[in-house]
Amino acid sequence: MALQSLDIKQRSATTTATPSVRQTVEVAKLIDVTTCIGCKACQAACMEWNDIRDEIGTCSGVYDNPTDLTENSWTVMRFAEVEEAGKLEWLIRKDGCMHCADPGCLKACPSPGAIIQYSNGIVDFHEENCIGCGYCITGCPFNVPRISKKDGKAYKCTLCSDRVAVGQAPACVKACPTGALHFGAKEDMQDYAASRIIDLKSRGYDQAGLYDPPGVGGTHVMYVLHHADRPGLYSGLPKDPSISPLVSLWKGFAKPLATVAMAAVALGSLFHYVTKGPNEVSKQLEDELEKEDAP
């Protein structure tokens, strides 16, 4: 096996168990939205470390730049202006892959090994196995993966799996000047978030809380929110995300059901032939017609 930190927990389009004897620590990135100033150092660090450069866009009149995730922008700051209790609040959320414990992208992916979930919780795309079908986009509850126009492959945040593998924090975390980004064992991140939430509550944010949605089994990117009761305020962060029941049907129950049904029709046909024999043209009819033909 390669690095222990890259032990595989789940692999797309694979029906057998992956090596799972070793137990590794689950990691998480904690994004403390309440201390983020929207400087975009994380975006710049992401571009630097991953060697990705987005096209130069145009000003859309707001701070969002670029305005959406792309195959070259794996994280973007989303700026929302919200009026709460007569006060203007500028809610800035660093958007990107949430690294779900139950990843919809991985469930939907048809290509073996194109999406990998490491035992530390990171969900990684291995583009060399990606076929570009876009099923990951269909499966994702957070609208994160993007397909490149250049090579037809899907891209998203890797949580710097290459850095984490050698004991480093993700590039964005390293670059954050206010300490809004934290990285470590998921348990430690939850503990730290709890202390932040106590602080926020003492400052009047009664509904402060941790965003670690159970609908996707929890995530390995978590948010501390001032308004955890209304995550939608943060540029449409879903309140209770889960894998769509349609995706679960399509890539769950329907797979074995349809396969068995098709196999049953094929085998049924074979055994029908074997048990009933062919449906031949009657010899009697043939003889009658031959007699008619006789001069």
Binding site: P110, N129, I137, N143, G152, L246, A261, V265, A266, S269
Partner: protein
């Protein structure tokens, strides 16, 4: 050399070419589509030059199949209108399956089962075409809920049609003297009289 000049023409060369064009497309689509559906079928992508090629080719072959099926549909539509005799035939399809078909009602060019398959194909093809376009990420980017719904319908319609076509192929193998109709266009008079007596009367005037 024609074995018997009195054999009956069942399909014209144009109809046969049209049928096989659609048939080849269907087989290629089933093989590549199954590969995207269940990991057990993933090795089938090798037939297309790998997963990426299978993904690129599948929708184009799909458009070709839709076109060839539309042409086939227009050719055979009027011959596949369900009649009360067809319904009776269908209600007694068990006798047919049992190989005891001599007491069944007289059938025209197509029997009730064939007509049922024709309409199942027509509906299935339409569903596959519409949902297939929705799923075609290289050219279309529709709302994710629509794509999810389309994925379920596409898979379900495909599974049903694969089963229907397997029955179609088996029926042609099972009923001896049938396959030649689609290979070179003719059937024997005895075959026609036994399986499609109303059609036999119509074409021979007997």
């Amino acid at each position: 050399m024609i074995r018997n000049p009195k054999d009956l023409t069942r399909y014209t060369p144009q109809e046969r070419v049209n049928h096989w064009l659609g048939g080849i497309c269907f087989i290629l689509l089933a093989l590549s589509g199954l590969a995207f559906f269940h990991p057990a079928f993933w090795p089938l992508t090798q037939l297309f030059g790998g997963g990426v090629w299978a993904r690129i080719l599948h929708p184009f072959i799909g458009v070709l199949m839709a076109g060839s099926f539309l042409s086939l549909f227009l050719r055979f539509r009027s011959l596949n209108v369900m009649t009360p005799a067809d319904k009776e035939w269908l209600s007694r399809a068990g006798e047919m399956l049992d190989g005891k078909d001599h007491n069944l009602p007289e059938q025209g060019k197509y029997n009730g089962g064939q007509k049922l398959m024709f309409w199942a194909l027509a509906i299935g093809m339409l569903l596959l075409l519409i949902t297939g376009i929705v799923l075609w990420r290289a050219y279309f980017n529709l709302p994710v809920d629509v794509v999810r719904f389309a994925a379920v319908i596409h898979a379900a319609a495909a599974a049903v049609l694969i089963a229907v076509v397997m029955v179609h192929i088996y029926a042609a193998i099972w009923v001896k003297g049938t396959m030649r109709a689609m290979w070179y266009g003719t059937v024997t008079r005895a075959w026609a009289k036994q399986h499609h007596r109303a059609w036999y009367r119509q074409v021979t005037g007997k």
